[in-house]
């Protein structure tokens, strides 16, 4: 079978957080085909059109193949020595003049654990600041926050295998067949095989067609729905009293709070019929083994972290944690959302979420790296942009993130980038963000590097280079080592495997992680020193003082934006199967032929009242900005709501999104934006290719 190829490399997919194991086949010096690894624990011999086909981006002519430095307003090619000297001067000067906290860095949830660890070490040890964050801030930071508060650890409580072992799965604010296709396929097959699905989403997602009941709650009302379900569970005696008694604290306050959330009251807030709330609660509560899965439809809200805690409440009161078939499974967006935060690329924590304010922890890293560090936390991403605009933050080092495309309130982000005195970008392509850079370093894609990614089930899996970086581009491991060295802090690792060894040495819960041990199946943390890993957490006790989980009595509070006379519709944003996040990768592949442009989904009733038919180009206005795109009329979305994705830079969906963010973690509220939709008189067939360009004039 492998005769056709020069080499076949087993690696881990660089797209979503499912963590499919892949076989990358090389011919003529580049990857020509990818097939699924038959023994992949998450994908079991399957993969989706992104993992399997969307690899041409790595050979794209647009790849950065040499460092670029800004000179009199434009970029010119530079040698590595020149680029490194420019960075040492730029960052060194700002550090000398304004102190290390005038500099901030962003690590990437697409990069490896080893890359993220090096990035946070460089910021902390070479620069001397805790101003380090990563893009999970804008997606699953609420999940991490809430799981730590309720259970103790920041990760799924079980594994994807629990989906097939469950009787019931509640899917809320997640559309797996589009966003996480291989897990979506596993859920669909399980449903065909008898798994009962409860789906909750403002859109009738594909899996709703295979489920027992669909709850189309209004965007921003997840808390009311979760409390309503808890109300019925308690009222009708569907709770596990022994589990509540022996394993948890704080149930009474939740029971008291949810007393007011009668199905009728919940119908009033959410739009979900009271009878459906009752029925869903019974399906969930009567199962012996139930899983809860959620995605950004839960987290990217003003009260996203609180809703995750309410989902934890439901699992706790029914005893659905810590057993096979009873897991809480947040579906992570990017390949290494879990790992980038685990590695301490966060302003307040080192590896395994251990706080920088803890003298003992910080001291241990000081000794290891031979530097001194502060005990005060650094800035989160939104605070960095605010500080840049205020003039307090002078420089940024952005690694593998396109903040000017993906972060909310785009105009504010661009103002921040323009305000910086010095910006370094490390990426594989020029992006919206690199336009503001002073130095751009050419980096490597996941097919060209070695290290590990941690998937949504806490599984740390090997990534191995299937090809070489193009031109004089380097692996991120090599770049970060060189930059740190240029800044005067040597990071003496021979290989990424050495980095993992240090991570294991410095982190008790990762003590047994090693490239050698993880082999083809990975290791699910915590991993003890002897290499034993943890497919299911909390089988005996929770990782909180006293070993008990904590209930959280949290009420429903309205979202940060609401429809009104001027902006009568609610825009929800999300993903499409064919594309991935900002589209930097997938739009450089034939996936663009499968989905050439974006559209706005609108309910037939709203379309009729606005006089709209398919393919008409509309102007979508929010309090923040406006965009134009064609519409598709579909009854899969509820009246009063519209939907689009954020994969196409020319559409610039995030121009519409305001500053509203999660109250605990600053995760932006991408999912509730009041908008108006107006006719433009123009038409453009949905699915017609549109040339990229910032000023989009519809045909």
């Amino acid at each position: 079978m492998s005769d056709r190829f020069e080499k076949t490399t087993s690696t881990t997919c660089g797209y979503c957080g499912v963590g499919c194991r892949l076989e990358a086949h090389r011919a003529d010096g580049h990857v020509v085909s990818i097939s699924p690894a038959m023994d992949g624990p998450a994908n079991k011999g399957h993969t989706c059109l992104k993992g399997r086909f969307a690899h041409q981006f790595a050979r794209s002519r647009d790849r950065l193949t040499a460092p670029l430095v800004r000179e009199s307003g434009s970029f010119r090619l530079a040698t590595w020595d020149e680029a490194l000297a420019r960075i040492a001067d730029g960052l060194g000067g700002i550090k000398a003049g304004h102190g290390p906290d005038a500099i901030a860095g962003l690590a990437s949830s697409r990069a490896t654990n080893e890359d993220c660890y090096l990035m946070q070490r460089m910021m902390r040890a070479a620069i001397g600041t805790h101003n380090i964050d990563n893009c999970s801030r804008v997606c699953h930071s609420p999940t991490s926050f809430a799981l730590r508060k309720s259970f103790g650890l920041s990760g799924a409580t079980g594994s994807f295998d629990d989906i097939e072992a469950a009787e019931v799965a509640l899917l809320i604010g997640v559309n797996p067949t589009q966003g996480h296709p291989v897990v979506g396929a596993r859920i669909k097959q399980a449903a065909l095989d008898g798994l009962k699905l409860i789906t909750a989403d403002p859109r009738r997602i594909e899996l709703a067609d295979y489920g027992e009941i669909h709850l189309a709650n209004r965007p921003g009302t997840n808390a009311a729905l979760a409390n309503g379900l808890a109300h019925v569970l308690i009222r009708d005696g569907l709770v596990d009293e022994a589990f509540i008694e022996s394993r948890t604290e704080g149930f009474d306050s939740v029971a008291e709070l949810v007393g007011a959330y009668t199905p009728e009251a919940v119908e009033e807030i959410t739009g979900v019929p009271a009878a459906d709330v009752e029925r869903a609660a019974h399906i969930f509560g009567e199962a012996d083994r139930a899983c809860i899965l959620w995605g950004l439809g839960v987290t990217e809200h003003r009260y996203g972290s609180e809703v995750v805690r309410l989902l934890c409440n439901m699992a706790l009161m029914t005893g659905n944690v810590g057993r096979p078939g009873a897991a809480l499974l947040p579906l992570r967006g990017q390949n290494n959302v879990q790992g980038s935060s685990d590695m301490g690329a966060l302003p307040d924590t080192f590896t395994d979420y251990r706080p920088v304010t803890d003298d003992e922890i910080t001291s241990s890293f000081e000794r290891r790296w031979g530097v001194e560090m502060k005990r005060e936390i650094g800035m989160k991403i939104p605070e960095m942009f605010d500080a840049a605009v205020e003039g307090k933050l002078k420089a940024m080092y952005i690694f593998g993130e396109d903040v000017a495309q993906t972060d909310p309130n785009t105009e504010h982000v661009i103002e921040a980038l323009e305000s910086l005195e010095f910006l370094v970008c490390q990426d594989i392509f020029e992006t919206e963000t690199t336009k503001y850079a002073d130095v751009i370093l050419p980096a490597s894609s996941f097919l060209e590097k070695t290290g590990t990614f941690t998937n949504a089930e806490r599984r740390v899996q090997l990534v191995e280079a299937a090809a070489d970086p193009p031109g004089s581009a380097l692996t991120d491991f090599e770049i970060l080592r060189r930059v740190s060295s240029a800044l005067g802090h040597e990071m003496d690792y021979e290989t990424p495997s050495d980095v993992m060894d240090e991570i294991a040495e410095m982190t008790p819960r990762y003590a047994g992680l090693s490239h050698e041990r993880m082999g083809r199946h990975g290791q699910q943390w915590p991993v003890t020193a002897d290499g034993a890993d943890s497919p299911i957490l909390y089988t005996e006790s929770f990782e909180l003082p006293g070993g008990k989980a904590r209930f959280a009595p949290l009420p429903y509070t309205p979202p940060g934006d609401e429809a009104d006379e001027e902006f009568p519709l609610i825009l929800v944003t999300g993903r499409r199967l064919e594309h991935y996040n900002a589209g930097t990768m997938t739009r450089r592949t034939a996936n663009l032929d499968l989905m050439p442009s974006d559209w706005l989904e609108i309910h037939p009733d709203d379309a009729t009242s606005l006089g709209l038919t398919d393919d008409e180009v509309v102007k979508v206005r929010s309090r923040r900005g406006q965009i134009e795109l064609p519409v598709k009329v579909t009854s899969r979305i509820e009246p009063g709501h519209v939907f689009t994705a954020f994969h196409f830079p020319e559409v610039r969906t995030n121009l519409l999104v305001g500053d509203s963010a999660d109250v605990n973690t600053s995760c932006p509220e991408y999912k509730v934006v009041a908008v108006s939709v107006e006719r433009t008189g123009a038409a453009r067939p949905v699915g017609e290719r549109v040339d990229a360009g910032r000023e989009q004039v519809p045909a």
Partner: protein
Amino acid sequence: MDVHVDGKRIEVEPGTTALEAARAAGSYVPTLCFDDRLAPFGACRVCMVGVEGAPAPAASCTTPCTEDMHIDTTDETARRIAGATVELVMSELPAPPAEHTELAEVARFFDIDEPRWQGEQHERDLDERHPYLVMQHEMCISCGRCIRACDEIQGAFALTATGRGFEANITAGLDSGFANSTCVSCGACADTCPTDAITEHTLLEVAQSGVGEGEVA
């Protein structure tokens, strides 16, 4: 329970198939329509084995083990039936299957070179409309793996069997190509296809032993 494979005694769980038992015992049984990821189908008759006491050889993939069953993977009749079946399948193809395919591997096992029967052969029928996937309809042997992968792995239900006898083939949607069907482009069909009747554009380019008249792009 205990079963015997080629004289070797092994213990298996109830519900184990004869094929699984043979593999567990380390005996090779050729297969064509079988894929570990899919429910056994029993269509191709290539995995035939002898079973002591049975009136005729059995397709091992769909034959459950029974207590004290004696399985002979080298049974002469079974081998002859399976070999002739593969030879018949090959005789309909306009060109030998590419070296790396499972069909080529099975043909090598049965030592089939030029089929003895020179009946009607399929004509090249290429569908290149999808950006990644290619159908070479003339190479389809109706094993049903693509259809079952689409149903049982992905759940897209995009592929269907069409025609009968010599005309039997596969189609996406209402004969409208992958793009206009419920296909989600996951590629599971190409992955499982034992003949490259469904494959990828890039792999056709790479293929050393191209099919047809070497006209592949």
